[in-house]
Every structure is written in structure tokens, then in C-alpha cells.
């Protein structure tokens, strides 16, 4: 390998994960930490830590020029951005390249294309992928004309959004009338890009995404798919691989579409092509592409037996993929739960603080990716992810059992967590039987029946808290 030293421009569990991948490849690593993360686990495990700025992410983790300066000054020859923060920032990718440093991710023009949701839609269409009916609308009248043709409900989305941000749902003409200008104003304010587009709303949809890998030598492969339908406000809570209850034909078509899209846009490194799959018919549509390692990559690692972060580093080094499509095989089923510091009694508001106790049980088939330990700080400045609990077993039921047991035996004191909610979802017959769509969790929490059908009830303390589990 030509790479010798990797700069890790991230924090929390993913920084720890990248340190481990560097170790596996015999690479040195330098963690660029904010002041508040200087005694974190990643900082401790790395060969070196350097303070890139104060706790506020806007003055540290979100500053491409500080990251590149720090990487240069510490003699690093690659920058791994993790996920979030600058992971999909074309400026970091470009600035690194200008300074002779490998960016562990795609080149800036690819990030820009994928980040522009309208251009990505067009690229998907050109590549022959099904996209949700819709398109750019410059005026309210254009949006209304689309609605008249395709009906309600529909989604108004910001071209500069993505990842669940910048989305509005219109159920009826009066919604559209009031939401259109709000959507444009918000798009301008939040993303600096006032373009919006409309899409037909697929009500009962599953979120299924395809993991792809592409090297500098024209090789593009997929590593199967993941189902991430258990979400709240478009944020994922539980993910699994393979996607349950998906027909073999749909699976093959999805993974082929993921590869086709990555190839069409000249994608490099690891990425994820997201789709929504109509729960009833199995029809699927392209949603967007994420140009980074995903939070939920461990479920794919579990079923494929491959180290995806190490593969990212090899690709960034210019090596060809270490495997061909035919070498990718799938073994068993894996489920990941995201343990976050949130207070269920306060509407799942973040619950930052210092962990007085944190310990995870040892269970066969359980992997835990975390930066938490006794005394670890969950700062209020960043997302509240504490740990990812990944269960891998021969089948889905056993994988569920593993993560369930892990949640029960986990010790976490000092902050509130969502463990009760996670356990309640795993227990729920809708989850067990694969009847979960992306709206399911929010509707179940509201005590509504998502499908409108009678369904088995979880024990509920009251009618308005369908999924509230006993607090621990």
C-alpha cells in the first residue's frame, strides 16, 4: 500500500471504526478532534490526536480548510471523513486533492452531482432507473398542474436537500397552496438553493438501499441491500441485511440498478444507492445516492464477511477492488439497532451527559461499534449516537434475539437512552412479520394503525403511546 498515514476527520463511533480499519491494514492514523473530544476513545486509540477547533462543529468538524491543514501538518496522505460532517462536502474532496492528499470518497464533481437531487434524478432516468413520477417546479402553478395530473398526496422536495431534509408533504390542493412558497423559502435558507421539485408520494414504502463499491479501474460491484424502514422523522433506527420479505427478482433488479447508477455517474469508493420499494407491489424507485460509508454498514459487513472501511482505504490508495462480483456471497441475517442518548419522556429530545456506567454484554453473534465506556461524555454539540448493536445469525429471528438480549443486558447509566423503544420495536409483531414501512414507527407511536388494518397490539400504558416500553 502506498498510503502510510490516515487523517480521520470525524468523531464518535465512526472515528473508532476507522482507527480499527487502519490498524487492520497496518496504517498509522491521526484523529482530528474538537476540544471536547480530545479525551475520547478515538483520540486515545489513534497514533496521534490533534485539536482542530472548539466543540462547536461549525468551528471544527465542519471546516474543510482546518481538516486539510491539519492533515498536511501531521504528514498524512489520506483523509477519511467518516459519515456526516464533511463526508459529502465536495470542497473537502477537492481541497484534499489540490494538496496531494487522497480523499477517502468520490471526487468533488461526483459528490456535487449526487448532492443535487434534481440532477441525480435526471442521471437515474438516463441510466434507465425507475424514478418516482415528478420533476422540477419553478412556480406554484407548475406544482398544481403536476398535482392535477398525478393526484395527492405529493411531496415537495428541496433540490439541495437529501437524507430526509427539506421535504414537505401535501395532502390536498390547499396544502400545496400554503406549502409551496414556504418550501422555496426554506430551501433557499437551508441549502442556498431555492429549486424545489415534486414527487408522487408512495405511501406504504420500504426504504431499501444497495451498497456499491467502485474502484479507479472501472470495476463496480454491489454488496447486496439493506432495509432501513424503521425510521422516525426520516432518521433510521433499525437496519438489516438482507432486506426481509423481498422477492429474488426485486432484489436482483434493485442491486443491478444500484450498480448501473454508480457506473453512470462515474462513482468511486463505497457508496449507497437508496430506493423506496412499494410495500404492496414490490415496485421500486430511485431516491438518492449517498457518497459515504453509511452508519449501517456493519450489517453488510456481517453478511458478506468483508471489511468495508478497509476496502474504502484500499480504493483510495488506487488499488483495484479486492473482490469481484462473483466473490460476494451472503451468509445469514444481520440486524443493527442504533442506541442513542435520547429521553423518551421528553419527545425523544437529546439527553447529553456523562456516562457513569457503560458496558455491553458478550453474546455470540453480537458486534458493538461504540465510543462509549464508563465516564465517556456524550456532548450536546453533536448527534447522540452512542452505540450500534449488530446481531448476526443464521436467520432473522435469531438475529433479532441477539440484539434484543444485548439491549436487555446493556448497562448505560448517566444519560437517558432509546433502548426501551428499540426493544419494543423488535418485539412488535409488525416488525417480526416484516410489515414495517417508513411511516410505521411514527404512526405506531401515535397509537394509530399504520395500515388501517387491525393488528396485534403491544402492551401499552395508554392509548397515545403505542410503542412506549417500560422505562429502565
Amino acid at each position: 500500500m502506498a498510503l502510510a498515514r490516515v487523517f480521520i476527520a470525524n468523531r464518535g463511533e465512526i472515528a473508532v471504526r476507522v482507527v480499527r480499519a487502519c490498524r487492520a491494514l497496518g496504517l498509522e492514523c491521526v484523529v482530528g478532534a474538537s476540544q471536547i473530544d480530545m479525551d475520547g476513545m478515538a483520540a486515545e486509540l489513534a497514533d496521534r490526536v490533534i485539536c482542530i477547533g472548539p466543540a462547536a462543529a461549525t468551528d471544527s468538524y465542519l471546516r474543510p480548510e482546518l481538516v486539510v491543514q491539519a492533515a498536511l501538518g501531521t504528514g498524512c496522505d489520506a483523509i477519511h471523513p467518516g459519515y456526516g460532517f464533511l463526508a459529502e462536502n465536495p470542497r473537502l474532496s477537492g481541497l484534499a486533492a489540490e494538496n496531494g492528499i487522497r480523499f477517502v470518497g468520490p471526487p468533488p464533481e461526483v459528490i456535487e452531482l449526487a448532492g443535487d437531487k434534481l440532477r441525480a434524478r435526471e442521471a437515474a432516468l438516463e441510466a434507465g432507473l425507475p424514478v418516482v413520477p415528478g420533476g422540477e417546479v419553478a412556480t406554484r402553478e407548475e406544482a398544481e398542474a403536476f398535482a392535477a395530473e398525478s393526484g395527492y398526496p405529493l411531496l415537495l422536495k428541496a433540490a439541495g436537500g437529501g437524507g430526509g431534509r427539506g421535504i414537505k408533504l401535501a395532502h390536498a390542493p390547499e396544502d400545496l397552496a400554503s406549502l409551496f412558497h414556504v418550501a422555496v423559502a426554506e430551501a433557499r435558507a437551508a441549502f442556498g438553493d431555492e429549486r424545489v421539485y415534486v414527487e408522487r408520494y408512495v405511501a406504504d414504502a420500504r426504504h431499501v438501499e444497495v451498497q456499491v463499491a467502485a474502484d479507479d479501474h472501472g470495476n463496480v460491484v454491489h454488496l447486496g441491500e439493506r432495509d432501513c424502514s424503521v425510521q422516525r422523522r426520516y432518521q433510521k433506527l433499525i437496519e438489516e441485511a438482507p432486506a426481509p420479505f423481498l422477492s429474488a427478482d426485486t432484489r436482483d433488479a434493485l442491486t443491478a440498478a444500484g450498480v448501473a447508477f454508480a457506473r453512470a455517474i462515474g462513482y468511486r469508493n463505497l457508496g449507497t444507492v437508496e430506493f423506496i420499494v412499494d410495500a404492496a407491489g414490490g415496485e421500486f424507485f430511485f431516491l438518492e445516492m449517498n457518497c459515504r460509508i453509511q452508519v449501517e454498514h456493519p450489517v453488510t459487513e456481517a453478511v458478506t464477511g468483508r471489511d468495508l472501511v478497509a476496502e474504502q482505504l484500499r480504493i483510495a490508495d488506487g488499488e483495484p477492488l479486492s473482490f469481484a462480483q462473483d466473490d460476494v456471497t451472503f451468509d445469514g441475517h444481520a440486524i443493527e439497532c442504533r442506541l442513542v442518548a435520547e429521553d423518551a419522556s421528553r419527545g425523544f429530545a437529546p439527553s447529553p451527559g456523562r456516562l457513569t456506567r457503560f458496558a455491553v454484554p458478550e453474546i455470540d453473534g453480537l458486534r458493538v461499534d461504540t465510543h462509549c465506556r464508563d465516564g465517556a461524555l456524550i456532548p450536546p454539540h453533536y448527534d447522540s449516537l452512542m452505540a450500534k448493536l449488530i446481531g448476526h445469525a443464521r436467520d432473522r429471528d435469531e438475529a433479532i434475539e441477539i440484539v434484543h438480549e444485548a439491549l436487555e443486558r446493556l448497562e448505560a447509566e448517566g444519560v437517558e437512552t432509546n433502548r426501551g423503544l428499540l426493544a419494543a420495536v423488535l418485539d412488535h409483531p409488525d416488525f417480526v412479520h416484516g410489515r414495517v414501512t417508513t411511516r410505521w414507527l411514527e404512526e405506531a407511536e401515535d397509537g394509530r394503525s399504520p395500515s388501517g388494518q387491525a393488528r396485534p397490539e403491544v402492551e401499552r400504558p395508554n392509548q397515545s403511546a403505542g410503542l412506549e416500553a417500560p422505562r429502565r
Binding site: 476540544q35 490533534i50 485539536c51 482542530i52 477547533g53 482546518l66 491543514q69 501531521t74
Partner: protein, 145 residues
């Protein structure tokens, strides 16, 4: 791979934390010879506080010294002068007021003037010219007026 100035400083820090008394590193076109205790033997730069110099004081402990520090307000490359060869903005003994420029910190070719932020006399320059400094790293020790 060539070692940067920063690598050398890191090597020194590791040695400081080890039990080694002497270390010789030789690679292609590069050698580094470190001898512990040599500084004391040859006379360490006297310190204003008159305390025995700690061999680990590359980052001085602000609490044990009477005086304050001017810390790096951002990560970047530390420059003591406006241009190579120019005289430094400040040196040991310079009296500064809060708005006196004490150094530049470069971040991706952007030069940031760093004001003292305090009135007093510089008693120590704690960072090397053209070296990478971290956010919060002490750059100067100062005797407040």
C-alpha cells in the same frame, strides 16, 4: 517517507514519555539523535519564573507558572514574522497591548493575524516558527502588566 517538523516533535514527545536516555533514528537521508539531559548539562534557557525547567515543558503548564499564555485561537501553521527573513512580531521581552499582533496563523493560505488579547511582557515563545499548532496550544507565555 520524509519526516515533517511535526513528526520530529512527536518523536520528541514520545521519547519524553519513555525511559530512554538516548535515541538514534536513521532513515534514508535523515538522522535524528536525541540525548536526554543534554539541555541541563549545557544550560537551559533561563526562565522568568526561575523554576527548574521541566524536561516535558514543550507545552507549559499554565497553572504552575506565574503568568498567562496566549493560546492558538485556531489550528494552523504558526508564523512569527510577516515574511521569511522579516523580524518577528514579538520576542522575549516585548511589551504588548491587547491589540498587538503577536503572530500569524495560516490556514490553507489564509493568513490570520493573532492579537495578544492581554497586556504584558512576553517571557517565552512556546511554539516553533512554521510548525503546526493545535487549537488552544500555548504560543507565548506572558507576564501580565
Amino acid at each position: 517517507m520524509a519526516l515533517s517538523d511535526d513528526d520530529v516533535r512527536e518523536v520528541l514527545r514520545l521519547i519524553d514519555e519513555s525511559d530512554l536516555d538516548e535515541l538514534l533514528i536513521e532513515t534514508d537521508g535523515f538522522s535524528l539523535h536525541v540525548l536526554r539531559g543534554a539541555a541541563e548539562a549545557t544550560g537551559h534557557r533561563p526562565q522568568a519564573t526561575g523554576q527548574t525547567p521541566d524536561t516535558r515543558d514543550s507545552i507549559p503548564d499554565t497553572q504552575s507558572s506565574n503568568g498567562a499564555t496566549i493560546d492558538a485561537p485556531m489550528l494552523g501553521t504558526f508564523y512569527r514574522a510577516e515574511a521569511p527573513g522579516a523580524s518577528p512580531f514579538v520576542d522575549v521581552g516585548t511589551r504588548v497591548s491587547p491589540d498587538t499582533t503577536v503572530c500569524l496563523i495560516e490556514v490553507m493560505k489564509m493568513m490570520n493575524s493573532i492579537p495578544a488579547g492581554i497586556e504584558g511582557t512576553i517571557v517565552e515563545v512556546c511554539a516553533d516558527n512554521a510548525a503546526l499548532v493545535e487549537f488552544g496550544q500555548p504560543l507565548f507565555r506572558i507576564e501580565p502588566a
